[in-house]
């Protein structure tokens, strides 16, 4: 047989929640009513905290900010499946994941206001600092996963990236390492269709991003990224598999960035408004709300009260963020290395004395 197919692959897509909130009962995750409600609450909280950040930015109280609008389900669905011992490696658009893990929102705001102290992760969590260098942090997740296996700790390393990140060499190097060493790693790709102004179609000729896992010999799956239940289920399955020695997974959450790239961007320069209208119909919050309504868990008259409570917590975070004393000049030096050189000590003295 001079020519024969020696390998073939299929990519699965998971959808659970329909546009009108209808569900495939067989696929429905076994969550309690209060957990379904909590998922919805986290979706709303993410949107409110995001909206608030945009307002703060316009008022000059935050710096450049990347909005999560439209991507709440991809973030909350995956974040809700994590366990506290897992290590998370965010990129820069994962507000919902931080909120799922109870990371202080005030710290998150402080970081985007230009204060590094906002990235100081509370000791009970293992969230790596926000990573700006696209796609490079998957390797850190691979390192932690390798270390965890060496130490026989039952944790999973979970890096987040976007569609643009899948074009980077480090993305491939990390998934390849994860495959070679069969690491407990679950990469969550929020395919939001845009890397600033470059569309998903211009990012790769591959039909799906999930199939990039195939070349690394690892599992890849695409999920409806605006379906919080599908994202949750896919993440939970992948985490369980990884935790039990079943190896890594790449999860592509197909969603849409409904905002500009950041507050410094204007997507009207490159994006057809009709695209937003199409995605608007798949709004992740609305779908979950309809699902809850169909189960008698959501009542229109209670919505305002629920939102008011969440808004209150956002307000408190803003107050807490802005009440913090400004950082010290010495902090620049303190965190550069464990022990300063004689030159650094001299420079610190100069900086503190205001001399050059």
């Amino acid at each position: 047989m001079p020519r024969a197919t020696i390998a073939s692959f299929q990519i699965e897509r998971l959808e659970i929640l329909g546009p009108q909130g209808e569900v495939d009962a067989e696929l429905l995750p076994d969550l309690s009513d209060s957990q379904f409600l909590r998922l919805y609450e986290l979706l709303v909280l993410t949107r409110l905290a995001d909206e608030r950040a945009l307002n703060l930015q316009r008022e000059g109280r935050l710096g450049t900010f990347p909005s999560s609008l439209g991507q709440e389900a991809a973030q909350v669905g995956s974040g809700f499946a994590l366990k506290s011992q897992d290590w998370v490696f965010p990129s820069f658009r994962e507000l919902g994941v931080f909120l799922c893990l109870d990371y202080p929102l005030s710290s998150y705001y402080r970081y985007w206001a230009g204060d590094e102290r906002g990235l100081l992760c509370p000791p009970e969590l293992n969230i790596f600092p926000i990573n700006i260098a696209v796609g490079t942090h998957l390797l850190h997740a691979a390192g932690v996963a390798l270390g965890a296996r060496y130490r026989q700790e039952m944790l999973v390393a979970v890096p987040y990236l976007g569609d643009g990140g899948t074009s980077k060499g480090d993305f491939y190097e990390a998934l390849n390492m994860a495959g070679v060493y069969q690491l407990p790693l679950v990469a969550i790709c929020q395919n939001n269709q845009w890397a600033i102004s470059v569309s998903r179609q211009h990012q790769t000729a591959a039909q799906t991003l999930a199939q990039k896992a195939v070349a690394c010999g690892i599992r890849g799956i695409q999920v409806d990224g605006n379906d919080v239940l599908a994202v949750y289920q896919a993440t939970r399955e992948a985490l369980e598999r990884a935790r039990n020695g079943g190896g890594p997974t790449l999860i592509e959450c197909e969603t849409c960035r409904m905002s500009d790239h950041t507050t410094a961007d204007d997507a009207r320069r490159y994006r057809d408004p009709a695209e937003l209208e199409r995605w608007q119909a798949r709004d992740p919050l609305l779908r979950m709300q309809r699902f809850l309504e169909s189960r008698g868990l959501w009542v229109a008259s209670e919505q305002a009260e629920r939102e008011a409570a969440l808004k209150q917590s956002v307000d408190e975070a803003v107050v807490a963020a802005e009440a913090v004393e400004p950082p010290q000049v010495a902090d620049m030096f303190t965190y550069t290395c464990a022990e300063l050189s004689s030159r650094q000590r001299q420079q610190l003295k100069e900086a503190e004395d205001g001399r050059t």
């Binding site: 992760c121 260098a133 490079t136 850190h140 691979a142 390192g143 932690v144 550069t336 030159r343």
Partner: protein, 320 residues
């Protein structure tokens, strides 16, 4: 004490670090069964097994990036990059992450990793196998840069690098690997980072050098009354020892293999000019590689600092 060459001294250091501390992991391309292309990791895989000493896929950025994760997790990764010219593929991980994780996380995560790499010219190797790019690493605060020059300091500096709480680039002068042999203490010991070593005491000129240039300088200056300072650590460099020697001699010759412009010698010259110019009897001189793309073996000797160029510079300095 056993007489060891540089390869054996580093191998012994790695063996002792692995034996003493189960956080130490050694990995890179061809470091396991093959023992590294220069045999620096010979027998370590056999002794410590696959979990402690292992091969990686051929991916330099991947090796360093994974090391960053391992270090932040609390282990002590010692990664080998097969030749320093291949670290360019990992510069993003070194600059963007290894150097910055401590600052970015406000001290929650640190990066105690060592990147070992054969470095420098004079071994008649293919392109990119002989790079002298130490200055790249020295321009990034948060990273230490160490260059041994003898079997003794190779072992002590390696163990100090592994013990250090921050990332260390450990550059192994390839030309010296089997050229130098000396007695090396059997027990583990630390040669402190950030400290220079007076390789030879003298009165009339201070010669500043590191790595494989030490051996060249010692030969070139055999008949001169010079003080030879072996920097050992380039970042942070030992300003006090250097300036004390300059005060003593009043003349400075810097010898580096790398190109002249923006080389590490420029930082030394600037520091001396800034802080000790009143002690100088003569201009600071540099003998360096030229500002050219490093040539292949047929032209290599024209580029590397030679005994003749070093002696001519010394003669010139002594005329003042």
């Amino acid at each position: 004490m056993a007489v060891l060459n540089l390869v054996q001294a580093i191998n012994q250091g790695l063996q002792q670090a692995l034996a003493e501390d189960d956080r130490v992991l050694v990995f890179g391309e061809d470091v396991a069964a093959n023992g590294g292309v220069f045999r620096v990791t010979e027998n370590l895989h056999q002794e410590f097994g696959e979990k402690r000493v292992f091969d990686t896929p051929l991916a330099e950025s991947g090796i360093v990036g994974m090391a960053v994760g391992l270090a932040a997790y609390g282990l002590r990764p010692v990664a080998e990059i097969q030749f320093v010219g291949f670290t360019y593929a990992a510069m993003d991980q070194i600059y963007t992450h290894a150097a910055r994780i401590r600052a970015r996380s406000r001290g929650r995560f640190t990066c105690p990793l060592v990147i070992r790499s054969p470095y420098g010219g004079g071994i008649k190797a293919p392109e990119l196998h002989e790079a002298s790019c130490e200055a790249f690493f020295c321009h990034m605060p948060g990273i230490k840069v160490v260059v041994p020059s003898t079997p003794q300091n190779a072992k002590g500096l390696l163990l100090a690098a592994i013990a250090d709480p921050d990332p260390v680039i450990y550059l192994e002068p390839t030309r010296l690997y089997r050229l130098l042999k000396e007695e090396v203490p059997e027990e583990p010991y630390l040669t402190p980072l950030g400290k220079a070593r007076i390789a030879r005491e003298g009165e009339r000129v201070t010669i500043l050098a590191w790595g494989s240039m030490l051996e060249v300088v010692l030969r070139a200056a055999a008949d001169y009354d010079v003080e030879i300072v072996d920097l050992q650590t380039l970042s942070p460099f030992d300003r006090e020892t250097i300036l004390a020697s300059v005060r003593k001699t009043g003349r400075v010759l810097i010898v580096q293999e790398a190109p002249k412009t923006c080389g590490f010698g420029a930082e030394l010259a600037a520091t001396i000019a800034e802080e000790e110019i009143m002690s100088l009897k003569a201009p600071i001189r540099r003998v360096t590689g030229y500002d050219v793309v490093a040539p292949l073996p047929l032209l290599e000797n024209y580029n590397l600092p030679s005994l003749e160029r070093i002696r001519a510079a010394l003669d010139d300095l002594l005329r003042y």
